[in-house]
Amino acid sequence: MIKVENLVKTFGTKRAVSGISFSVERGEVLGFLGPNGAGKSTSMRMITGFIPPTEGRITVGGFDMVENPIPAKKLIGYLPENAPAYTDMTVFGFLGFAAELRGFYGDARNKAVHRAVEQCFLEGVLHQSVDTLSKGFRHRLCFAQSILHDPEVLIMDEPTDGLDPNQKHEMRQLIRRMGEKKAIVFSTHILEEVEAACTRAIIIDRGQIVANGTPDELKQRSDLAGSVSVRVLGVPADIIKAKLALVPSSRKAAIIKEGKDGVWARVYPQAHARNGEFARAVAEAVTRESWKFDELHTEEGRLDEVFRSITWSETAKENK
């Protein structure tokens, strides 16, 4: 549905986006990750046709966004950053206005508005002025606007920003549900969101894609992924560390925490080690030493760690 090829955007001498390419099909939810100022919003603005790219091509549903923007824009629902809305209108008026611009008039307009209002739980504020809405409602209103025409492509810039935990949860579920039939791109810097809602994630930094894969694939890139943590009771930490380092195919061992309730140690596998086997090897080592232990598990790898290592090393490279 969305195809982005070699997208470049420069503002004056600053290169905000430098050559990103990806595509999103129906049924995919693509998470756009990256530090602030990485070029996420700029990319989304280009995809939705708000700003023209300096170089590169964007096609939505086969229509070129620069050459043929109207049919391309018809396919898109867009929730801009900070959820802007006309403050001098009522919720109903605003949605009606958006519906008319989307080509719904009369009965069809009212139907579209009511459907969106229901989906976003806006009944209670339908005739309230946008001015008086809380941030959560404003957000939902702007979201309602973006799904009015049941678009095939949904693009959202930080859809959960400023929502409370319940609303965030609701929004993620909504995204997930809609992602079954639509092509969705959303940006965020909350990493749990990616795990909760995305089928694929792209990490961009300094205008370039630095990682692209499913959340699980990305997590595999974490240093932590596959390591085994164990809590041992009544054994000095340095002995634990030394013995665990001897476990077959381990790379290194480390003490995470020492306390009254035992010592938390972690063993990192070598690259070729397989998850289950490695955990068994650690368990065997611990039982061989006949240490008392009450917990042992394989770590999954954490996205935030991957995110940090990728975006940091890139920054460091540039600084050299």
């Binding site: 955007k9 420069t10 503002f11 004056g12 603005r45 939705t48 046709g49 708000f50 700003i51 023209p52 923007p69 109207i70 049919p71 824009k73 018809k74 898109i76 867009y78 801009p80 950053e81 900070n82 802007p84 809305a85 006309y86 403050t87 001098d88 209108m89 008026g93 206005f97 958006a98 008319e100 611009l101 989307r102 080509g103 008039y105 002025s129 702007c142 606007q145």
Partner: protein
């Protein structure tokens, strides 16, 4: 795209903009101030009664270029700057509409609002007809001129409001620009200009004056609807709206 879709979009945008005016008391305050000022200028400064003439040219229409100088920028300053400030421009311009439809729709909404303001001055027309045998053709011509003049000012305001997200700056810029365009043909100024330039180059003075709203409005005020003046005002509306489009485009291109 077919034109009926374009017209529908323009009308949708105009409608939104118009309801925006009346959603706050500002529109009503604006109308009241306008009517008070028009009344004051017509009957006190314009000497409507003292003149003893059944005409609106010198008492009523005469003041419009000066009153509009402040009122039209006030009515139009929010057109694009508010859109920029709220961030709704991103929403509007990612809808399946063209930038032109948005520019024209917004302009027409403000113009309609000014038309309404002008319509509300109808008691003046009733008065002059009641008191004497007025030349209603001339009155009509005056209204046409006044409406076109307001459109000219408004197009400039649309342009200045696209330049900034601050309404006050848009207002001031617009007043200054309109003031220059007005003065260029204002008699004291043209007289001053002719004393500066040598006799041979008098065409320069005429050229400058021909760019002025004032020169062209004067004919309407006298009761003459000349196609040249109409065309002048239509281009004076068209050009700043075109520039508005260029500004918005540059803004988006970054």
């Amino acid at each position: 795209m077919n034109s009926s879709v374009a017209l529908r979009h323009i009308w949708t945008i105009s409608k939104r903009e118009l309801t925006g005016y009346f959603a706050s008391p500002v529109a009503y305050v604006f109308l009241v101030i306008w009517l008070l000022l028009v009344g004051f200028f017509t009957f006190m400064l314009g000497g409507f009664f003292e003149m003893g003439e059944a005409s609106l040219s010198m008492s009523f229409f005469r003041w419009h270029p000066w009153l509009y100088l402040f009122l039209v920028p006030a009515a139009g300053m929010r057109l694009w700057s508010e859109e920029r400030r709220l961030g709704t421009m991103e929403l509007l311009l990612t809808m399946p509409i063209t930038t032109w439809q948005a520019i024209i729709g917004k302009f027409l909404a403000s113009w309609l609002f000014l038309f309404l303001a002008l319509l509300l001055t109808f008691p003046v027309v009733l008065t002059v007809n009641y008191l004497g045998d007025a030349d209603n053709g001339a009155v009509f011509s005056g209204f046409v001129g006044s409406f076109l003049l307001a459109g000219g000012y408004l197009a400039i305001t649309s342009m200045t409001s696209a330049l900034t997200r601050n309404q006050v700056i848009a207002f001031i810029l617009s007043v200054v620009l309109c003031f220059f365009l007005l003065l260029a043909g204002f008699e004291p100024v043209t007289n001053l200009l002719s004393t500066w330039v040598p006799e041979k180059l008098n065409w320069v003075v005429n050229l400058v004056a021909s760019f002025s709203f004032f020169t062209h409005y004067l004919n309407f005020q006298k009761g003459v609807i000349d196609s040249r003046d109409v065309i002048f005002f239509l281009s004076a509306i068209g050009f700043p709206l075109f520039v508005t489009g260029v500004i918005l485009r540059n803004l988006r291109a970054g």
